[in-house]
């Protein structure tokens, strides 16, 4: 088995020299590759089952950061650009690609400003890593393991069904319209904010449950195994993958604790709502000052799309936890790579980069954005505003999420003119977030039905006519007594053929929500 590592090292050397030189010299790697393919067909390392056998080509293929699916994520989360980090991560991706024996699928890595331990890839090759996850990693081996895992999904074309898109589209309409109906009071700033915050919270829960398109347990496992192959071929230690999964195990503990907390808060909220409803005179709306935003969204979720809960349960069945995945990858490593003469962990380059003043400030800035967002949810207005302004002036100040945060903070502090100016500028900017459009529409709607409809029209056009906006468009046209246009939107919505979305459009049209 010692020869296996030699083969890997040799492959790596060959990849550096390039394919042409490899053909000329032979690099004595063809035989080594044969040795690498140990055992029966079923026992081979995954790399050689899924990708044509052969030496590393040393090729790199990058994406240009465009495309519809990239745009969708950019609009929803924003991309946290940082030249040094982006270069570092994409150079590592290039290292992984260069080990492939075939032309690599194009890919590119982006950081998102989310604080969670999450990363995901798209079929087109875009890979998104949440800053919370990235900043947790402590060696280059771990970073490469993560990249290799995500890139493995891309290589193996782990596409999903569109069930999630259907549901999330429906949920969007449901959540938004539900909140509009529920807190439909005339456009005072705080009411708008409350509606906005509640909708955001609903979506936060939805999007943070790991409801990425569903993959099977087997596909996740394949990505771990192929990720391990790629990690080793790129010259890194298998400990990178192990450490990544161990860290994920810790994260699952944190996340599960939060799940329990949320369930408790939801129960409390539901009890409080029931009590309030019995006291409330008939026909009056609930107070927007509800006890807990975090609880409110969960109730909304149930209301907006009953299928979501069932889907969450179904997904959790399909997905091994990190401990299971760790055991599986350990067995895989033991079977094929146990006696490799391992390189030491590569710690310095990653830690040195993380410790650079501007990189550290960038990570801290993103963390502060999330911390201040939490403050805002708790309605600690003054402190939140001061901190949001500081973030905007800092190393992460160029991020759309920093701008979004400041707008929220200004609104919450009652600085109407400043908030309005920020909102206007945001919806016209190139990196505008959906949340910023939504907030502006809601705000304008508070002014008048026509202003709300006009703001929605402008966003609808600017954002490329997203399907998920259709229920809202219908609702707003109906409200502004523009029945013919509402009819046209309803027809467009039905024509798409997504049952959940269609149901939401019908509800909006009939004024049910």
């Amino acid at each position: 088995m010692m020869k296996v590592w030699s083969a890997l090292a040799s492959l790596r050397a060959c990849s550096i020299m390039g394919a042409a030189l490899f053909v000329l010299s032979g690099c004595q790697t063809q035989d080594s590759m044969r040795e690498l393919i140990a055992g029966s067909a079923e026992q081979k390392p995954l790399l050689h089952r899924k990708i044509a056998e052969g030496p590393a080509l040393g090729q790199v293929a990058s994406l240009d950061g465009t495309g519809e699916d990239f745009y969708t994520v950019r609009l929803q989360m924003g991309v946290a650009k940082h030249p040094d980090l982006d270069k570092y991560l994409n150079d590592l991706l290039g290292k992984v690609q260069a080990t492939l024996p075939t032309s690599p699928a194009p890919a590119r890595i982006y950081i998102t400003p989310e604080p969670t331990f999450t990363a995901f890839g798209q079929a087109s090759g875009n890979i998104f890593i949440a800053h919370g996850m990235l900043s947790s990693l402590e060696s280059e081996d771990e970073v490469v393991a993560l990249i290799a895992h995500e890139y493995a999904h891309v290589l193996m074309e782990h596409y999903s069904t569109d069930i999630i898109s259907d549901l999330s589209g429906g949920l969007y309409g449901g959540a938004t319209l539900y909140m509009m109906a529920r807190h439909n009071q005339k456009g005072r700033m705080d009411d708008t904010l409350v509606r906005q915050a509640l909708v955001n919270e609903a979506v936060l829960e939805f999007s943070s449950t790991g409801l990425m398109p569903s993959l099977s347990r087997e596909q996740e496992s394949q990505a771990d195994r192929l990720g391990m192959d790629l990690l080793l071929r790129a010259g890194y230690s298998p400990v990178g993958m192990t450490a990544l999964l161990d860290r994920m195990h810790t994260w699952e503990g944190i996340s599960n604790s939060r799940k329990v907390e949320r369930a408790e808060r939801l129960s409390a909220f539901q009890a409080a709502e029931g009590e309030e409803a019995t006291k409330r005179p008939e026909g009056t709306a609930a107070s927007p000052q509800i006890p807990s935003f975090s609880a409110a969204f969960a109730a909304m979720l149930d209301h907006a799309s009953q299928g979501v809960q069932a889907l969450k349960a179904e997904l959790s069945k399909k997905h091994d936890d990190a401990a299971d995945r760790g055991r599986e990858i350990a067995a895989y490593q033991d079977q094929f790579y146990a006696d490799l003469d391992r390189p030491p962990l590569t710690v310095k380059p990653w830690l040195a980069l993380k410790e650079k003043r501007h990189v550290k400030a960038f990570f801290e800035g993103m963390q502060e954005i999330n911390d201040v967002a939490e403050l805002l949810s708790g309605q600690s207005g003054k402190e939140a505003l001061a901190r949001a302004r500081k973030v905007k002036a800092g190393a992460a100040g160029h991020l759309p999420s920093a701008r979004n945060l400041l707008t929220r903070a200004e609104m919450q502090a009652g600085n109407r003119d400043t908030a309005t100016a920020l909102m206007r500028a945001a919806v016209q900017s190139e990196d505008s977030l959906w949340q910023e459009h939504e907030r502006y529409i809601m705000y304008q709607l508070g002014e008048s039905a026509t202003k709300g409809r006009e703001a929605a029209e402008a966003s609808y056009d600017r954002l490329g006519s997203p399907q998920s906006m259709l229920p809202l468009m219908i609702k707003l046209y109906m409200r502004d007594n523009r029945i013919i246009q509402a009819d046209m939107f309803l027809l467009s919505c039905i024509k798409i053929g997504k049952p959940d979305l269609s149901a939401e459009c019908h509800k909006a049209y009939k004024g049910i929500v």
Binding site: D69, T72, Q76, P113, T116, F117, T118, A119, F120, G121, A123, I127, F128, M133, S135, S136, E150, H153, V154, S160, S168, Y172, T176, A197, V203, L204, S207, T209, G210, L211, M212, Q219, S237, M241, A243, L244, D246, R247, H249, T250, W251, E252, I254, S255, R258, R327, A330, D334, A338, V347, N370, E374, S377, P400, N404, L433, Q435, E438, P466, S468
Partner: protein, 126 residues
Amino acid sequence: MNKMRVVLFGRLVLIAGIMLAGGSSYAEDRQEVLGFKIQNPKIYTINGDRFIRSGTLSALPPLPAPVLAEDSRGYVQIQTNEGPVWVDRVQVLLKLSAGAKCPTGSVTVSTDRMNAGVRGAGEGCK
């Protein structure tokens, strides 16, 4: 006399600093094995600068098992009934920090999250 006091004070500060640094470092660096990932974890001996497989753990130690030493090539030393042994880091579960957070306040995530993509490593908040 004053000079002696200054020297003495300086030494005390130095000693205190060393003690504090040592304590802190130990507390932060100390790792524990929370579990084993395969049924018969391999044990290794050091030959020169190489780790050579020398068998399997005959009896698993009580968990969590403190890590006595760690080698950057991916081996950890733990205490067993038969004395300290080196095991493969890949075959043990260590408690590693995940500095990420489950947010309660929405930052940028919006209402129409639709990714025609693939599931990734890790999970969001449950």
